[in-house]
Amino acid sequence: MRLFSIFKEIVINVLKGPSTRKYPMEKREPFPGVRGKLSIEEDKCIYCGACARKCPTKAIQVKRQPEKEWRFERFRCILCGYCVEVCPKKCLSFKDRLEK
């Protein structure tokens, strides 16, 4: 009959210290390729509207008249990456971090 078999793990964990990081004093470096925030290079954009048509949540709006405009609602974005694939000029990309 085994009793208290978790006791050894508890002693090891107490001696090792906490496993959590003291955020925001210490931050972890994000892994490369993490989908953080969508960003656009405005000079390359030709306002074709392909990204607005393909977005599943309609977070991007593109207008050509009366003046050229590319608008993005950040809270509607689900970070799927469909617009990044479809853009003909490859001016959309994901930044690593969510905060900046």
């Binding site: 085994r2 078999s5 793990e9 970070l79």
Partner: protein, 357 residues
């Protein structure tokens, strides 16, 4: 003299809202009636208003614990309708991500089961083991839960040598830590007293009630849809994990052994990745109707799709495994003590957001 006691929808032990109206007499349960509908989002109707490529992203978000396998099953259905063949490297990568999802789902379920009988320390330790698996998924695909890597015709991202080595290192960490925790869950006296003999389901009743997944395999029936060999499972010889006993202890043992089996499947898949392109190009719109199945961590999922030649589908029907496991749950609960109800519910691993979509 019987009393009606509602269990849920807000209960500290349940991960998602589910109500069971229990009729009890003197601490023993006589019958139970389930009431669901607290998280119904109408996703099947919403999917008819978006086109069939945007539906991959929508159907990934049906559930947060088994999300990759939902999108993979939908892509398998559309590929069968349009007669597309998936390249071999994409099949192996789909198996790698499916098995990583299976591991993280089983570790989550085991942690919640330990929490239900008050063993919070084991709950935290199992979820700390799960963090290694989440890091492996984030490094290879860019996100922790909603991977977004499956697409119609193959996969969108590749796993290069450096990422594969990272995943293998994380898997050996998972195996080492799980080997120290397995005897606590399976051989400790206080855990066995709570789990053995509770919630019995005999094999004939399990088959007529429509049970699937570890609920069925814990009762001695050897049924696992991965043995039909979809994706790359035929080349990676696979045999199901079965336990006799039919109680909560047998289902827990099935889940732990499946985690070890998934670790060895991922190691074999990453060791034999073939060289080919990642996806076949897509032309035109689907038409016809098709029904496909796959094996999720909780059981077998069925997708029925009907299309009419335009870019929007006519009907998408999803039958998730927890929906099928609620009927045997009503038979398992009869006759148990009131203190055991939480354990029996968590031993079928309820995922109510899958049930109600």
């Amino acid at each position: 003299m019987s009393m009606l006691v509602p269990f849920g929808p807000q209960h500290p032990v349940l991960p998602e809202p589910l109500q069971l109206r229990l009729e009890i007499s003197d601490e023993q349960v006589i019958s139970a009636v389930p009431v669901i509908g607290y998280v119904h989002r109408g996703l099947e109707k919403l999917a008819e208003q978006k086109d069939f490529v945007q539906d991959v992203f929508l159907l990934e978000r049906v559930c947060g614990i088994c999300s990759f396998i939902h999108s993979m099953t939908y892509c398998m259905g559309i590929e069968e309708m349009m007669s597309l063949s998936v390249p071999p490297r994409a099949n192996y990568l789909r198996v790698v991500w499916s098995e990583l999802h299976r591991m993280h789902s089983h570790l989550l379920a085991l942690g919640l089961l330990a929490d239900s009988f008050g063993f919070e320390n084991l709950f935290y330790q199992l979820w700390r083991v799960r963090e290694h698996v989440m890091d492996a998924m984030e490094y290879t695909s860019g996100a922790r839960v909603m991977l977004g890597t499956c697409c119609i015709g193959g996969v969108r991202k590749d796993i290069n040598k450096e990422q594969a080595d990272f995943v293998l290192r994380k898997l050996s960490d998972v195996e080492k830590e799980l080997r120290t925790l397995t005897p606590v869950l399976l051989e400790d006296y206080s855990v066995k007293v709570r789990l053995v003999g509770v919630g019995r389901l005999d094999p004939k009743q399990a088959l007529t009630d429509g049970a699937v997944g570890p609920t069925l395999r814990g009762s001695g029936v050897s049924y696992d849809f991965r043995s039909t060999g979809y994706a790359a499972y035929r080349e990676l010889e696979f045999s199901p994990v079965v336990e006799k006993g039919g109680d909560c202890y047998a289902r827990t043992k099935v889940r732990i052994n499946e985690v070890y089996q998934s670790i060895s499947l991922v190691r074999r898949a990453l060791g034999h990745l073939p060289d080919s392109e990642l996806k076949t190009p897509l032309k035109g719109n689907p038409s016809g109707e098709v029904a496909v199945r796959a094996e999720q961590p909780r059981g077998e999922v069925l997708y029925y799709l009907r299309a009419n030649g335009t870019d929007k589908l006519d009907r998408i029907r999803v039958r998730t495994p927890t929906f099928a496991n609620i009927a045997p749950l009503l038979h398992m609960i009869k006759g148990c003590a009131l203190a055991d109800v939480a354990m029996i519910i968590l031993s079928i691993d309820p995922c109510i957001s899958c049930t109600e979509r």
